[in-house]
Amino acid sequence: MSSVITIDHVSKSYGTCNAVSDLTLSLHAGEILGFLGANGAGKTTTIKMLLGFFSPDSGQISLFGHNPSDASTRQRVGFMPETAYYYPYLNIRELLSFYGGLCGMSSSLIRQRSEDLIARTGLDHAKKRLLKTYSKGMLQRAGIAQALLHDPDLLILDEPFTGLDPLARIQLRDLILELKTKGKTILFSSHELSEAELMCDRVAIMKNGKLVLAKPVKEVVCDGNTNLERIFLNVLQAP
């Protein structure tokens, strides 16, 4: 199985604070990885390095075997940020048209993909409204739509379930599982352990910048008496 994400002994510090220490992790094609950890564990820093926003102090990161800071590498990556504040004076169609343009998509393709994604994210009724009138949950849906617009092979979702109502959660979960069946690779960071348990092939738990657990979900919860939440708490509370 080919490796989509390869993180090899990566460290990153901000001043004296070690955000990520000696992280080694890989993600294979078609896999869903739940990237878990408490606040400040280093999840977002890792995701930012994966997207090439900045380079690690040491170690190497590659996406599809290429440097993530190359613009061409990001052609195959879709990203949804944790807190989504999109351009408030655009409507969802214009937002998707903008991001589609940035991905180099043609107008007709953008139109076609936009309509499909607007419908699938449940924003059909609000497609003419400016984003400044959207609720937080609606903005999350807009974020998902823009991340999927150019049909990326790798999807990186930072806290995708935040602010979503139960129905939207189920829709997003179904969407993610559908993408998996299409062979897409998905990495998402989350505090929603139940969602991770339901969807992920593997989980990686970070603590104080270090990877403390990286196992298939089936192995983690093989004992019928335990669940991911309990494992997570045990890992975090361990000295």
Binding site: P81, Y89, Y99, L102
Partner: protein, 259 residues
């Protein structure tokens, strides 16, 4: 093609920004509120004055275009960072250089569209009111004003990578106003001082943007003859070169900026 699509998307974003935020509507209403009552004014009961209206119109055009161009440019990067829209933006397959160029070009085109609109109205009203209109001077004034906007937006873009938008507006505003008022006095001032102030003033004279070179309002209002076209193009090229220099440094900084 790919890069052109990216640039086109970024430019459209700035145009939406300008027109949806209703900045243009606000400045147009302000201009109407100021100019319409003035156009009906008959000081001391005597009619026939037009130059003062032209002067105030052009002053408002300068002021509004400068404010729009500067505020829009100064906000490009800080707003993207503050609102976190920078993350999905940088995650797209566009290089940072293209993103900065597109955003800068967008703001520039938006500002220049306002400029062209106001100059068009100025020419229209003047040609309707008077048989004589100094077209050559008008075109030169327009060209130099466009050059000025190119220069100040590039300056504000560079400033936006050092300061937040308010500080950037203050610093750029002081620099631009200072150069308009005292740009040509710097060598005289330098001659009156000893080192190191003399050296500082000379460096400032050679490095700071010569914003005083772009204002042809007096020539336009008082129907002076046109300036030599060579001088006009030299000033235009100077603005382009200065803007390219600022943009080059801004790109270098933006490519190294941690977000």
């Amino acid at each position: 093609m790919h890069t052109l699509r990216q640039l086109s998307a970024l430019i459209r974003l700035s145009l939406y920004d300008l027109y949806r935020r209703k900045d243009l509507v606000i400045v147009t209403i302000l201009a109407v509120v100021v100019l319409v009552p003035m156009s009906f004014a008959t000081p001391f009961g005597i009619k026939g004055a037009s130059r003062y209206l032209n002067e105030i119109s052009l002053l408002l055009v300068w002021l509004f275009v400068l404010v729009i161009a500067m505020t829009r440019t100064a906000r490009i990067i800080p707003t993207e960072i503050d609102s976190r829209t920078i993350y999905p933006l940088l995650a797209k397959p566009a290089s940072r250089t293209v993103i900065l160029l597109g955003r800068y070009a967008g703001v520039l085109i938006a500002s220049l569209s306002v400029l062209l609109l106001f100059y068009g109205l100025y020419a229209l009203i003047n040609t309707m009111k008077s048989a004589f209109f100094p077209w050559e001077v008008f075109i030169q004034a327009l060209l130099l004003h466009i050059s000025f906007v190119i220069l100040v937006t590039a300056l504000a873009l560079l400033g936006s990578l050092f300061f937040n938008s308010d500080a950037n507006l203050s610093v750029s505003g002081i620099l631009i106003a200072g150069m308009i008022l005292y740009g040509q006095q710097l060598p005289v001032l330098a001659a009156e001082h000893s080192l190191p102030i003399r050296a500082i003033l000379h460096i400032l004279y050679w490095l700071a943007p010569h914003c005083e070179l772009f204002d042809m309002r007096t020539r336009l209002i008082h129907h002076w003859p046109a300036i030599p076209w060579l001088a006009c193009f030299c000033i235009f090229l100077y603005a382009l070169a200065y803007a390219a220099f600022c943009f080059g440094i801004a790109t270098w900084l933006f490519n190294r900026k941690k977000v």
